[in-house]
């Protein structure tokens, strides 16, 4: 994994279910279109993430006021990342609980969205990889 940006992103609340996972680096995975949030607090706690608009081109969730307030930014200044997992039927992205990053301030929060969003949206990893080339 190569370091694309060595500054630390702080999740003030940790990620959902793991409050002590607070400091992460966002790395580009060399072999795919995925990036990886590598935790600096817990060894091996690494979350692959994908640009959710690559999974659902119409993905523009409305963020609760509490999210824009915590991150001190308006919705259009925030970077959205979908946590990606490998299930029995291939890779899936979590569009229900994206990671929201204020890139300028290096702060982030994982939120659970209101409304109908897929918890396991299928991701075509091979297709994404081809997009890069």
């Amino acid at each position: 994994m190569s370091v694309s940006d060595d500054s630390v992103i702080l999740f003030e609340e940790g990620v959902i279910g793991v409050p002590r996972a607070r400091r992460f680096e966002l790395l580009q995975h060399s072999g795919s279109a995925l990036r990886v949030l590598k935790c600096l607090d817990i060894e091996g706690f690494n979350l692959p993430v994908v640009d959710p608009s690559k999974v659902d081109p119409g993905y523009r969730p409305k963020l609760a006021e509490r999210v824009t307030q915590i991150l001190d930014a308006t919705s259009d200044q925030l970077l959205l990342l979908a946590v990606t997992a490998l299930g029995p039927d291939g890779a899936t992205a979590n569009l229900k609980a994206p990671v929201v990053v204020n890139v300028a301030r290096r702060t982030a929060v994982q939120v659970i969205l209101d409304g109908e969003y897929a918890l396991r949206a299928p991701v075509d990893l091979a297709g994404l990889k081809n997009d890069l080339t």
Binding site: G44, P48, A85, A91, K96, I112
Partner: protein, 71 residues
């Protein structure tokens, strides 16, 4: 676990700035109202658990990516 009995319309205060109110109750369910600062997240437990599990599943893919790279 602390247990308190409350009636509809009554509340419970947690700390200085969280209030939970019993809005209504029926034999099969109760409706709760929450007042809390914006930095406090409030979720139904089953949804929260699903997200925790999705995060955990992601760790497996990360391990696999690592493995790919070292090959």
């Amino acid at each position: 676990m602390l247990m308190l009995t409350r009636k509809p319309g009554e509340s419970i205060v947690i700390g200085n700035n969280i209030r939970i109110t019993i809005v209504s109750a029926s034999p099969s369910s109760i409706k709760l109202g929450f007042e809390a600062p914006p930095d406090v997240s409030i979720y139904r437990e089953e949804l929260h658990r699903e997200i925790v599990e999705a995060n955990r599943a992601a760790l497996g893919l990360a391990a696999e990516l690592d493995h790919e790279e070292t090959r």
